[in-house]
Each structure stands twice: as C-alpha cells, then as structure tokens.
C-alpha cells in the first residue's frame, strides 16, 4: 500500500515528464502503425496473385521479427543517427509481419464466386480491389494491426536506449538507479503507463472495427 502511494506521489511530481513520455510513446505507435500498415497492406495487395511473391514477402517480414529487438534498434544508428529515426525503423520492421500475414490471409480467403461476379458485372480491376477485396479482407487486416499495436507499445520502451524517448525513459532511469529511492517507482510507472496505453489503443481499434466493418460480415 505504501508503495502504491509513493508511486502516485512519484508520478504527480513528474507530470510533465509523464505527459512527454506518453506523447512520444503514442507518437511511435501512431506513426509506425500508419506507415507499416500502409506498407504491409500494399505489399499484400501487390503480391496477392503470386504464390511465390507472397511466400517471399512473408519470409522477409518474419526475419525482422527474429532479430533480437535490442540489436534492431542499434544497427541503424550508423545510418540515421540517434533518437526517433532508428527507433522508428526498428518498430516499423517489427510490426510488418502481423499486418502482412493477415492481409494475405484475408485476401486469400475471399470467396472466388464473389470475385467472379464482381468482375462479371463490370468492376474494373481497381474497383474490384477497393470495393470488394479490401473491404472483405479488412476485418482480418485490422486484427493484424491490433496485434502489431500491442507489439509496438511493448517494444517502443526500448527506444530509450538509442535516445528515442518514450515511456522506456522511466524504466531505464529506474534500472540505472536501482536500488536507490524512487527507482522501483520509476520502473513501475513506465510499465504501468505502457499497459494503460496498450489498453486505450486497443479500445480505439475496437471502436474502429465497429465503425468500419459492415454488419454483413461482422
């Protein structure tokens, strides 16, 4: 109980840092999900007709996920320096696989009869993609985006190691000062804020799901 109060005191005394950390962390999540989402969906769309291209894209995306996260944040420093950029690149690469995999699964799962009738009624290839294929694959793509969002919220805490900021700052400084006073509070604060952020983002994506998915396929 005492720890809880001291944690709250700790947080209230650093409101500005808390807000900044949250803003940076959220910044990562939003920019990464939007860019990686677009990139992965586009890749899934471009490769959808070729089994070989699909396999290739998937294996490349899975390679990124197997690289230890610590290393992935660091390897780009010689190219882009410290701060936001290397962190963004690492998170971007990490979040590709779930979205790409689900995009491919979603597009593959569309009833061939639906595509046949869409073409047969005179949809152009672009119209088939935008009005039939993507809307029908969207629930599965969105599920992939949700998985990626959780991944990014967790791993973005490493950005602090390459001076990228975010909620990882609290964890890092706590770890560095262990076992001095307030060090555990700092670690807990960073961790809890990550959890809360993950929860809020999940709620937002849930709302997006309800808003963007037709009742006919929900």
């Amino acid at each position: 109980m005492d720890f809880l109060f001291s944690l709250i005191d700790f947080a209230l005394a650093r409101q500005e840092q808390v807000l900044e950390g949250l803003a940076q962390h959220t910044g990562y999540v939003v920019t990464v999900l939007v860019s990686a989402g677009l990139f992965a969906i586009l890749t899934g769309v471009v490769t959808r007709r070729s089994q070989l291209a699909k396999e290739l894209a998937l294996s490349i995306a899975s390679v990124f996920l197997t690289i230890p996260s610590l290393a992935l944040f660091v390897v780009f420093i010689p190219l882009v320096g410290l701060g936001f950029a290397p962190s963004f690149i690492a998170l971007f690469l990490y979040s590709l696989l779930p979205i790409l995999r689900n995009t491919i699964t979603g597009l593959d799962g569309i009833d061939p009869g639906v595509l046949e009738s869409a073409k047969g009624m005179g949809f152009s290839p672009v119209q088939v993609l935008l009005k039939v294929e993507l809307p029908l694959a969207w629930p599965i793509i969105l599920a992939g985006i949700r998985v990626s969002s959780m991944l990014v919220v967790g791993i973005a805490a490493i950005a602090t190691l390459v001076a990228g900021g975010g909620l990882g700052d609290f964890i890092k400084s706590g770890l560095a000062r262990l076992p001095l006073p307030n060090s555990l509070e700092s670690i807990w604060l960073g961790t809890l804020l990550c959890l809360v952020l993950a929860l809020v983002i999940d709620l937002i994506l849930q709302a997006l799901r309800v808003a963007t998915i037709s009742k006919g396929i929900r």
């Binding site: 009833d111 061939p112 009869g113 639906v114 595509l115 046949e116 009738s117 869409a118 073409k119 047969g120 009624m121 005179g122 949809f123 152009s124 119209q127 039939v132 809307p135 029908l136 998915i213 037709s214 009742k215 006919g216 396929i217």
Partner: protein, 372 residues
C-alpha cells in the same frame, strides 16, 4: 425474332501451347429474345464458352459480336456492364445490403439516386421478394434460393439485353430449383431477354431452352436445335447417350396439360340422390365420379362403394382429391399426379379451382403416339 444478337465467330481458347484447346473454332449465334442452353458433360468447355461472351476469358483467336458490333477488343468492364451475369455460387457481396447489391451495375453506370432506389424496389418485386423486408438485409441472412433470386435481380438491374447464366440453379435443392425454374420461365415470358444458359442437366436444358446446343469436348456443337427436335431426332450416338433413356418422358416436360384432350367423368354435387347417382355411375364407363362443391371445385372421388355406404354423408365419403392440375402445368406433372392418384386419373381445374376435366393415362398415350 430471328435477329442475331450474339455471334461467336471461329472462336478458340487454348491454355498453353501443348494442351488441347478448351474451345476449338466455335461459331455460334444467339438470336434476340431466345434462351439458348449450352449443355454437355463436364469439361466440354460450356462454361468457358459462356465466359468468352463477356470476356471473363479472352479468346485466343476469333471474333465476338454483340448486336452487330465487334466487342473482341476494347474495355471488357464496359462490355460486362451491358451483360447480366448469374453464376452458380451467386457471389453476392457479403458486406453490402441486398439493396446495394442490386444497385451495383446501375451505380457503375452512373444512374441518379432516385432512379436507382426505384429500380431496387422494382427488381425485388420482380423476383417476388418484399422490398420492405429485404432491402436492408445482408446476404448472410438469405437462404440459397433467396440468394439466387437476388443474384438474378442484380443481374437484371441495369436492364441488360443479354443475360449469361452459368448453372444458376445448380447448387439449390430440387424443390426450390423447380420453383425457381418456373419463376424464371414466367419472368422470361415478360422480359424477353436474350439468354445463354449453361447446365450439365439435360432435363433442365429441355425445360428452360428455346434452343439447345449439345456440346462435346472442345465445345464442339454435337447438335443445335429446339428441344423437341433434339428429342425426336438425336443427331448421333453422342447426343442419344447424352439424352439418356426415356426421351419420351423428357418430352413430357415440353407439353402442357392444355395440349391433351380432357376426359369427362360423371360429376355430382349437393344434394345427391343416391339412387340417381348410382344409376349415372353405372351408365358411364368410369368406375368413379367426382363430387363438386358449391363452387364447382372437385373435392372427392366417389365410387359405388361410397354411394352404398349410407352411414356417412356423401360429402365425406369416397377418397379426397388431394392434388389438382392446371392447364399450364406440364404433362410430366400430370403423369406424376396420375401415378399417385388412387383412381389413375388427374383432376384438371382452372386457376380458381373450377373443374375442367380429367387427365387419363389413355389420353396421354394417345398424344405421345400421335407425335411419334
């Protein structure tokens, strides 16, 4: 009527150089307002042929003409918007409402909103589905038969002259299929579309087609003629074997009850004098008489035994008339009813249920003989 609307000229389609072509040098004309059925064993290229018409499959060689215009080149999407397309899998868009599904082609063609809305209701009514109830539903809420009705409504929405149907009723249970076929024939009588209809079911072909093209491998036409002519004079062994046994029985689906001479059995209605009734019955060649109610609707078969059993009122004796035929039913229906009937006859009534006469096996046999 004999104007050609669709013409395939020396059309071939092959996949790869080594393989046998799916369609080999096919020339085929479809006349305006007719239902041309392409029928043949699986793998004969009938579906490929159909999809050549709206260029879902591009021909390797040959020309395709629609209403005199060469449509072999040019934007296939523009061509397809002018041609209705119905497939076995139906392929309704699951994320769109029934109304939006029907509106697909009119929207592509840029019709204005009010016209589209009116058209949706009109189409739903055309396929006997209540607009109020179904407009805002989604395809997953429909049964197979309902879904295919919407499939047909969607294909007809932009009022195309041509309708291509690829085994449209193939995945539907036999009872519903029969009903959809009948409804479709009724629709076609009104609409007079030019229809190319693919099926592997010769019975369906005979029922639906004004003309039938029986295809063998490579989409080669084995015989192209009216169902009556094909049944009467199959061109070769292949056609004969494809028609299967019982060509005469199949021919019965082409004829209507109104084509045959109806037999009149003695009738009686309330109040019945038993003595007098018995006399009438004995005087006639028939073993039974029909009891008609106040509206001339036949309700029971009455024989001598029923008349002799005085324990029951006449209205309740004898055997009930369970099914009646109408003049527009097919002779195949008539045969079925006759075979099921306890007296070997089928009662024919008009639309309101008023007694017209009876179908007998003899009259049916006479008709078949006179054709042979």
């Amino acid at each position: 009527m004999s104007e050609t609307l669709i013409r395939l000229e020396n059309v071939s389609k092959s996949y790869g150089s080594g393989a046998e072509p799916a369609v080999r040098n096919l020339t085929l004309e479809v006349k305006k307002g007719e239902v041309l059925v392409l029928v043949g064993p699986s793998g004969c290229g009938k579906s490929t042929t159909l999809r050549l018409i709206n260029r879902l499959i591009e021909p390797t060689s040959g020309r395709i003409y629609l209403d005199g215009e060469d449509v072999t080149d040019g934007d296939p999407s523009v061509l397809r918007r002018k041609i209705g397309y119905v497939i076995q899998q139906v392929g309704l868009f699951p994320h769109r409402t029934i109304a939006e599904n029907i509106a697909t082609v009119p929207k592509l063609l840029g019709w204005d909103k009010a016209k589209i809305e009116a058209r949706i209701d009109e189409m739903l009514e055309l396929v006997s589905m209540d607009p109020e109830t179904y407009r805002d539903r989604y395809p997953k809420e429909l049964s197979g038969g309902q879904a295919q009705r919407i499939g047909v409504a969607r294909a007809l929405a932009a009022d195309p002259d041509v309708l291509l149907m690829d085994e449209p009723f193939g995945a539907i249970d036999p009872i519903t299929r029969d009903r959809l076929q009948n409804e479709f024939l009724r629709l076609q009588q009104e609409l007079k579309k030019t229809i190319v209809f693919v099926t592997h079911d010769i019975d369906e072909a005979i029922k639906m087609g004004n003309r039938i093209a029986i295809l063998r491998e490579g989409s080669e036409i084995a015989q192209l003629d009216t169902p009556e002519a094909i049944l009467a004079h199959p061109a070769d062994e292949f056609v004969e074997s494809f028609l299967g046994s019982g060509a005469i029985l199949k021919g019965l689906t082409l004829k209507k009850v109104r084509d045959i001479e109806l037999h009149q059995v003695p009738t009686m209605s309330s109040p019945v004098m038993r003595e007098q009734a018995l006399e009438t019955l004995r005087a006639s060649d028939d073993q039974v008489a029909l009891f008609l109610d106040a509206n001339d609707k036949p309700t029971r078969w009455i024989d001598e035994r029923a008349l002799n059993r005085t324990s029951q009122p006449i209205e309740k004796s004898g055997r009930p008339v369970t099914v009646d035929l109408q003049p527009e039913d097919t002779l195949q229906d008539a045969l079925t009813v006759m075979l099921q009937s306890s007296v070997g006859m089928a009662v024919v009534t008009d639309r309101k249920g008023k007694y017209l006469g009876c179908c007998t096996i003899e009259s049916l046999a006479k008709l078949i003989m006179s054709d042979g």
